[in-house]
Symmetry: C2
Subunit: 478 residues, 2 copies
């Protein structure tokens, strides 16, 4: 059995003069003597001091950036700057070489664009070590939050025969052959011959199935992958991304807003407590990046200030109608600086409007509620005004829409009418309608785009940098 100590623990250790064994990857090797060694357990490296007079020259040559080594030695207090402990090596062994001519990650700053091309190696940089540690912490915090509150984690299906939600373009899932496609007598593709005996797609949301479970367990959440086959090449869209979708029976829009705000604050606090080192690093990284921008484009806040601000303040709640009034009267609307001018109630809000509300007007996360029914989904509960639905979008600075949710339409007659109006086939969703048929009750839920959360908490600016192997138009590498 292989035994080694993790560098994260050793860096905190005061167990001096004991023998330790570490294994990791060489970050730098200075003066034929000082190895900065990283094993991924933390961003920090441990210094391994090689006794170069008594070490074979050929071995010394193989201690190159990227090489994997095993080092055994004595843990001692470090006299050098920047570290409290180091290892006086008694033995160094090369586990895996790394040709310095070929290894793409040299000890210098690489652009994020370049690192995206080598996504299989970028985890070895400080930035991506920090990003994925924060991503991990946020995922765990989400599970812990819901577990503590008695929610049941549901795995809703990824492959689905329903395309009724209308949330966007879908990917087909099939085992049929393009070259030998079975067809009915009419020449139509015969999906009866397909694996599932019908046409199937990748899910765009687990909500409808989540509702079924909520109407039995009371509180459920999903955390799984969702898909959009949209030709969006933006810094905020992915073809494959992870969503968290809680759904609660006996809940209205107020309960829903409270749950969402509690959750966001909980997971941000958790990351702050559990990723101090990483968030400090990302804070400085962002500050450096901001310096490259012209003064007037720089953020007022540092990353850590932004996080603290979210924790310290209530999210601003207002209706869509109130938001329209604010936007109509706003400077950029008056001065025609918006690309899409707001002139009447009913307009769908664009990113520029959302950002104005969040970043300029309220300067805090905003919960917009009660949108016009025509721009929202069929399952959202119709308000008494007959014009708006009990929807909520939560907007975050720098991100825009972080969460979208609603109270669901629990009244069978209203739901059926809305489905008819919006062209949603009732036969296909017989099981969904059954929840209104048998013991219907008010219920509500929302969807959180996980990568947008990670984007916000890490201060990264491109969503492709917060998921391991991003999927987007024309790209499915790795």
């Amino acid at each position: 059995m292989i035994k080694r100590q993790r560098i994260k623990e050793l860096l905190k250790s005061t167990d001096f003069n004991t023998e330790v064994t570490v294994m990791g990857w060489v970050k730098t090797f200075r003066n034929n003597q000082f190895i900065a060694l990283n094993d991924g357990s933390c961003m920090g490296n441990i210094q391994v001091v090689v006794d170069f007079n008594n070490t074979d020259e050929n071995l010394l040559k193989r201690i190159t950036t990227g090489a994997a080594i095993k080092a055994t030695g004595i843990l001692v207090e470090s006299l050098g700057k920047g570290q409290s402990v180091e290892i006086k090596a008694t033995a160094v062994e090369i586990l895996g070489d790394s040709d310095p001519e070929k290894f793409p990650l040299q000890p210098k700053k690489h652009s994020l664009e370049f690192l995206r091309e080598i996504a299989h190696l970028r985890f070895r940089t400080n930035t991506f070590n920090a990003v994925f540690k924060v991503r991990h912490a946020l995922a765990f915090a989400i599970h812990q939050f819901y577990n503590e509150r008695g929610f049941v984690y549901m795995h809703t299906p990824v492959i689905t025969a329903s395309d009724a939600e209308g949330a966007g373009e879908m990917f087909k899932v099939t085992t049929l052959d393009f070259d030998n496609t079975p067809r009915t007598e009419d020449g139509v593709v015969d999906f009866k011959e397909d694996f599932f005996g019908r046409a199937t797609n990748l899910t765009v949301s687990g909500q409808l199935e989540g509702e079924l479970a909520a109407m039995a367990f009371g509180h459920i959440y999903t955390f799984g992958p969702t898909f959009r086959a949209e030709n969006s090449n933006t810094t905020r869209h992915l073809a494959e991304f992870w969503m968290i979708e809680p759904e609660v029976a006996f809940a209205d829009l107020e309960n829903n807003m409270e749950l969402a705000e509690d959750m966001m604050k909980y997971v941000i606090s958790y990351a702050k407590e559990n990723c101090k080192e990483e968030l400090e690093f990302l804070n400085n990284r962002l500050a450096e990046e901001e310096k490259q921008k012209p003064q007037n484009e720089r953020s007022e806040f540092t990353l850590l200030e932004k996080l603290d601000f979210c924790l310290a303040n209530d999210f601003q709640r207002l209706t869509y109608t109130e938001a329209i009034d604010i936007l109509k009267a706003s400077k950029p609307n008056q001065k025609k600086q918006f690309k899409y001018l707001i002139d009447s109630w009913g307009a769908d809000l664009q990113s520029e409007h959302e950002r104005y509300l969040v970043e300029k007007h309220f300067k805090r996360p905003v919960i917009l509620t009660d949108y016009p029914k025509d721009i929202k989904s069929f399952y959202m509960r119709l308000n008494d005004d007959n014009k708006t639905v009990a929807a909520m979008d939560i907007l975050f600075p720098g991100i825009g829409e972080m969460i979208g949710g609603s109270q669901r339409e629990e009244r069978m007659d209203v739901l059926k009418q809305r489905m008819d109006e919006m062209g949603v086939p009732q036969e296909e969703l017989w099981w969904y309608l059954d929840t209104r048929r048998f013991g219907s009750a008010p219920h509500a839920g929302f969807g959180l785009g996980f990568e947008r959360l990670v984007l916000f908490v890490t201060g990264m600016t491109n969503i492709r940098d917060v998921i391991a192997f991003p999927r987007f138009p024309k790209s499915a590498e790795f």
Copy 2:
């Protein structure tokens, strides 16, 4: 905002003579007086006592099995049997009716087959409440186990362009049209026109990508959906299922076995501690089911005994070669009772052989190691005998293979030779080979089929009963 108390908490409460509000679904309504109400927070119902003399008769009629109601009243000590508290209702409100003629879940025992047809409602039964609470607990325990040990949770891609792993038939993912398929001049389907600019599939495993991350973070795990387009209509196969795949750098097969055994014991203990009520119920359910079987087919152990036995005993470790010797000499082999007789080294083990080893010979979980290289994957580390690889399969009573894993081949030359031998294209896996090119190191990992774990811990016998909406040939309902 809707306010209510959860039945799970009320059943434990001693806060008598206070007013409480509950909302839930009616399980039964006896004598126009006693409602057994369930809100999904636990399997247990709370008794709501209706003052039928002062309640509108029409309302009483609407208190039917499956209806959702709101009840307000005083929490009192119960005089009846089987419960310690009950609610003396002062007000009952129907939230959603349930037509007793049509509601499929009557207060009687339904077959699992029937319940599979109404998977959207089966969560409201005791059995499925218990199964999905245990499933939740196991999922949470897995995250907690890995989080405590410093593993990074990775979301590896679901859509993948690589079909190199050879683990089974894959589902195509595409946005191309069967009726208007773009073709190259040679008449071949032109996947350059597809969404990702190439042919893509649903992943069969996140392992290869997981290895990339392990070679940076040291310890990672995945927990995500995986897919097999195999025409398997068995009680142990699904087309869509969830897998947990840890991967550890600087680890060998010994470390791997230890991690797997620790994990299994951790999550089973967690379920035992956190799902007492549910496991007791499932234990009794299984005991009832066993009674229907002929004496000689009944299990020696109850469900709880089986779980305890796994916790109390070391998993039996032996090599494939040793297992072959045992099987060759075994009674069912001698008496030709095996369907596939074991006569020589190199044979792939069938379910009947695995079950013999686990259930008859060792009577405990078994870790089989060092399989012939020809029946295992290209990435498994070749042993010095040149004939076997450092693979491990963990076999569980009643389940068979629960976990499959290996030490990975970290030596570039050996890996390339194995890829050639097994027809795995090197160009397509350039990124995988890079981990051996730059700082390669011993590493190991495994895959745990989550539904098989749930099957084992709940004592259910059909894998379609432990996932919310199972996907299998000709079925993608809900």
